[in-house]
């Protein structure tokens, strides 16, 4: 899964730890998602999209898709 999370996070001026606190996960999980080493659950994907006030498809795209 590809994602545009780093861009959204930096645009919001948040550190990985601050975003992690906001969506209720650990900083390591946000880091793993950004490095595309971990695909979040649907619950977490919804929480991230909700936090950035965007759609899940804006944040995540399947491998090979346009982010």
């Amino acid at each position: 899964m590809n994602n545009d999370l780093p861009a959204y996070r930096e645009r919001a001026g948040l550190s990985q730890g601050e975003l992690a606190d906001a969506v209720g996960v650990t900083r390591q999980t946000i880091n793993a998602i950004e490095r595309e080493r971990y695909d979040p659950s649907l619950d977490l994907a919804f929480a991230l999209a909700d936090h950035f006030d965007c759609r899940i498809e804006d944040l995540f795209t399947p491998d090979g898709g346009e982010p």
Binding site: S15, G17, A20, D21, G24, T26, Y38, L44
Partner: protein, 132 residues
């Protein structure tokens, strides 16, 4: 400061793992040294401290990624144990039957343990399947 919660969480995770390692060291060390009650007491104290560390933490200490990692490790363990047992035990039975080796008594206990483990795994598999 924005970095404090993150630093505290990393500390909590490290402390949790460290306490469980200490529990294991206490247990094995106590048994080897010939103090079984001290071994169990040390294990219990460290285990309770580890559990309390997580429960008393402010933020999230372990999350869905940790669960995913544990599930992957558990699945791999069961797979390796299953393949290893499927090769080792029939091979030993054949070698024993052909009189190449003598069946060691401890291997029977290991066999029962593995069988029990897979019976438990099968039970949980059926429960998970039923719920989905």
């Amino acid at each position: 400061m924005t970095h404090q919660p993150t630093t505290r969480r990393i500390g909590t995770r490290t402390r949790y793992v460290g306490l469980w390692i200490a529990a294991g060291v206490c247990y094995v060390g106590g048994l080897v040294a010939g103090y079984p009650l001290v071994a169990v007491a040390g294990f219990v104290v460290c285990g309770v401290a580890a559990t309390a560390t997580v429960h008393r933490a402010d933020g999230v200490v372990f999350d869905e990624r940790d669960r995913d990692i544990i599930e992957t490790a558990s699945a791999n363990t069961i797979q390796v144990l299953g393949i290893g047992s499927a090769i080792a035990f029939p091979s030993m039975v054949v070698l024993t039957a052909l009189d190449y080796v003598r069946w060691p008594p401890w291997l029977g206990a290991v066999g029962f343990f593995v069988a029990g483990l897979f019976a438990l795994w099968l039970a949980f598999l059926l429960i998970a399947r039923y719920r989905r």
